[in-house]
């Protein structure tokens, strides 16, 4: 339905169209991404499952899951929030709804093509930057630059005096991501090989996480928590400390991901020290948000968006504790190359980041559609399935990682480690499938919200009406 506006005049396109396009695309990709994750986990839990077909081999499907979640779900949810938060915070309209719709269209088309090619085996062979370079160029020039233009111009045309911290994160992080993509993909474009290629690969991976996935999620929380609670942000100054310390400490050389590689020792030590300093923005963010909740904690048990948001903020605590310390040489010696790292990555992407985005997508779609959520019961079902599924996944993979670490250090025979890990692989599959199930229910709930949700009268917020019949 929204596709008809692609060729309409900008002034004829209803405000919020690109928010809706991005929002539903994000939920769709979340279902696809977690479905692929559940399938992959089944292959690890039951090695005889879906064998004999090359396309269903784990090596073909694993990176499709990763990129469907990062570029499909998380990044489109970010774009969706930018489409409604940036103008709202500047008391203005989005610079170009038409450009927003085209960005969403390019994104869906480019990502679909890229993932199909990846699934068929067309890959750069580098983790996280697996897509081949023509698709990377589509992402950079067909998606990120237009998205950036829309956000930057909306901020420039704001009718407020200052720029709120959320828009700082939005504007800056799109710029970072363009640079990260351009530099990170250069290994393939310029045929860089060996250690240089390995280093650029993890420079890309590190900064996609640290300058996009976690800070934009934090920027979203700076909007949703004050908006939903009605409390002003506890401290703008702490927010600025968060922003600038991310810039200073997270844009590190990233060589702490490659502590065993023959990179210069000073470079690894430098990256490792800055990795611990990530605790500064982490503590600033968590403290600022939790203190903003002051006096409104009852919403944590009553309001579904706050449940998701606050849980995401809570999960930022272990995320940054793990992240800050696991990359020091002493702990990395033990956990490197084990399931611990997989658990940590899911704590970042599925735990902290996704929970904050889910809240923003719930809130944003209800606001833009002007419709009350179709079913609060289904939303609560979604929350519990995602949080319990995530916890099962994270705990089982952390323990599996510790087993692998012990096996590695004490030179336990490999097959003994595989046998010891088997129950945890089954638990991982159960957890992942619960997340997938919850997301399918969410997609249905949001589809029904658009079709049959009660219309929200002017001057009211949808979440305020959650308990009104």
């Amino acid at each position: 339905m929204l596709l008809k506006y692609l060729f309409a005049k900008n002034e004829d396109i209803p405000a919020g169209s690109s928010t809706i396009f991005f929002g539903y695309s994000a939920i769709f990709w979340f279902v696809v991404g977690t479905g692929l994750g559940s399938f992959n986990a089944a292959k690890l839990a039951f090695p005889d499952f879906a064998t004999g077909v090359e396309l269903f081999a784990f090596g073909h499907m694993r990176q499709v899951h990763v990129l469907a979640v990062i570029l499909g779900w998380i990044s489109m949810a970010f774009a969706m929030t930018m489409m409604y938060m940036t103008p709202a915070l500047g008391n203005t309209k989005l610079w170009s709804e038409k450009l927003g719709l085209w960005t969403a269209f390019n994104w869906n088309a480019g990502l679909s093509l890229g993932l199909i090619l990846l699934w068929c085996g067309f890959t750069s062979g580098r983790e996280y930057s697996d897509l081949i370079w023509p698709i990377d160029l589509v992402v950079i020039f067909g998606v990120l630059v237009p998205l950036g233009m829309n956000v930057w111009m909306t901020i420039a045309q704001r009718r407020t005096q200052g720029i709120y911290i959320t828009n700082w994160f939005f504007g800056a992080c799109i710029f970072f991501l363009i640079i990260v993509f351009l530099v990170g993909q250069s290994a393939e474009l310029f045929n860089l090989t060996g250690l240089t290629e390995g280093y650029l690969t993890f420079w890309f991976a590190h900064n996609v996480l640290g300058l996009w996935i976690t800070p934009v999620a934090a920027g979203i929380a700076y909007y949703t928590i004050p908006k939903l609670t009605g409390n002003p942000l506890y401290s703008h100054r702490i927010g600025h400390l968060h922003f600038w310390s991310i810039i200073a400490f997270y844009s590190t050389p990233a060589s702490h991901h490659l502590l065993s590689a023959p990179l210069p020792e000073w470079l690894k030590s430098f990256a490792s020290v800055e990795g611990v300093l990530i605790l500064i923005p982490a503590v600033a963010f968590v403290a600022n948000i939790l203190l903003t909740m002051k006096g409104r904690w009852s919403m944590f048990v009553e309001n579904v968006e706050i449940k998701f948001s606050v849980t995401g903020v809570l999960l930022a605590i272990p995320l940054n504790m793990q992240g800050g310390f696991q990359q020091t040489r002493a702990i990395n010696w033990y956990v490197h190359g084990t399931g611990w790292i997989v658990a940590h990555a899911h704590l970042a992407l599925l735990g902290m980041s996704s929970f904050l985005e889910i809240a923003a997508v719930y809130f944003g779609l209800q606001q833009v559609l002007r419709r009350k959520l179709y079913s609060l019961v289904l939303a609560n079902f979604h929350f519990w399935f995602v949080i319990i599924g995530f916890c099962i996944y994270w705990i089982s993979m952390t323990i599996a990682g510790l087993i692998q670490g012990a096996g590695k250090i004490y030179e336990v025979p490999y097959i003994d480690v595989v046998i010891a890990e088997h129950p945890y692989m089954i638990a991982r599959w159960i957890g992942g499938t619960m997340v997938f199930t919850g997301n399918m229910v969410w997609l249905y709930n949001m589809y029904m919200t658009a079709r049959e949700g009660t219309i929200v009268p002017k001057g009211r917020y949808a979440h305020e009406m959650a308990y009104e019949r």
Binding site: R296, W297, S298, F300, P318, A330, C391, I395, T398
Partner: protein, 96 residues
């Protein structure tokens, strides 16, 4: 106004997210202690009370640390939230 943040309403909220948060911190603490102390074999990790890892079950110090931290974080969060609930209820009563 009534206190909405009772133990009954908070239990599952804090059992799952807060327990996980505590376990995450416990995992780091446990791994850090084990790595700092344990550079020997299974039976000689430098700590007291239990082995670094039991080669039969692969269970050990970190698992316990995660559970202890998980319980501690849940209890701390529950007490803090209960106090918040009391303050919020009082504030609403006085039309603050």
């Amino acid at each position: 106004m009534e206190n909405k943040l009772t133990f009954g309403r908070l239990f599952f909220f804090l059992l799952v997210p807060a327990f996980t948060t505590g376990m995450g911190n416990g995992s780091v603490f446990g791994a850090a202690v084990m790595c700092a102390l344990g550079r020997g074999g299974y039976g000689n990790w430098g700590g007291w009370g239990m082995e670094a890892y039991d080669p039969a079950t692969f269970s050990g110090f970190v698992n316990w640390m995660m559970i202890v931290f998980g319980i501690a974080f849940s209890v701390i969060s529950m007490l803090a939230m209960k106090k918040h609930g009391e303050i919020e209820a009082q504030r609403d009563n006085t039309a603050w």
